[in-house]
Amino acid sequence: MVPLSYYLVLSGILFACGVAGFLIKRNIITIFMSIELMLNGVNLSFVAFAAQWHALSGQVFVFFVMVVAAAESAVGLAIIIAVYRTRGTLNVDQVDLLKL
């Protein structure tokens, strides 16, 4: 038997890794992946809570999160491609001006 808190701590660690990735990575694609990592961490806590409280709606939320993540990644990657086309770089430290 595994206490719920273990799952939550794992979820928290993943989330923290995602935030840290957002902060320290320079490649915009990797930053985007860090966001996915955060979402995954959240999903884990959803599923863990669903098991804890015997409520399947927690799992349903995970589906919605996945759908949103899929939509977000499709649009986000399209934006990344557009950014790369116009700026010629994927480094977010160099993409800090509104005008070209």
Binding site: N27, F32, V47, A51, Q59, S73, A78
Partner: protein, 177 residues
């Protein structure tokens, strides 16, 4: 006991993948680390009895979203990232913030874990029940997400289409003239 072992093994794989994501400088390595994280998360889901979620996790996240990432990395031929120092704030405030936040949360969770524990297959999530929930209790959110996905598709098409093509189709004979 078995549950705890499996949880620990895949939990460690998960954390290792997440940390590898941070450490690796090449985006493709990061992406593959993330795939590993997602795969082991799928196992954790199985442990929690959410087998359908686990399968979808593999198919959607690992099989579709991450493929898209890899595809884009290949398409843009993204190289090793530069360790530019664009932001002191991220280092001065962000990292300590993350550390403080996660340590605090972990501490509190472990302090107040109570007696609640999760058994293998404690809550089987058969696809039928989840489908029932999706199409009855969560019908409106489901439809809304479908609209969201449609918008995302159109947005992606518009964003990724080459600007020159758009211009060209808008003014067909401008260039020839």
């Amino acid at each position: 006991m078995l549950h705890l072992i499996v949880f620990s093994v895949f939990g460690l794989v998960c954390v290792a993948g997440a940390i590898n994501l941070l450490v690796q400088r090449h985006p493709i390595n990061s992406a593959l680390s993330l795939v590993v994280v997602m795969g082991s998360l799928a196992v954790e889901y199985l442990l929690l009895g959410a087998e359908f979620v686990a399968a979808v996790q593999v198919i959607v996240y690992a099989g579709a979203i991450m493929v898209l990432f890899v595809f884009v990395i290949m398409l843009l031929n993204a190289g090793v990232e530069d360790r530019t120092k664009g932001s002191r704030v991220a280092m001065l405030f962000g990292i300590p913030g993350v550390l403080i936040g996660s340590v605090l949360m972990a501490w509190v969770l472990l302090q107040h874990s109570g007696t609640g524990s999760v058994a293998v297959g404690a809550l089987p999530g058969p696809p039928k029940v989840i489908g029932w929930l999706l199409f009855h209790d969560f019908l409106l959110p489901f439809e809304v997400t479908s609209v969201l996905v449609l918008i995302a598709i159109m947005g992606a098409v518009v964003l990724a289409s080459h600007p020159a093509e758009v211009q060209h189709s808008a003014q067909p004979d401008e260039r020839e003239g």
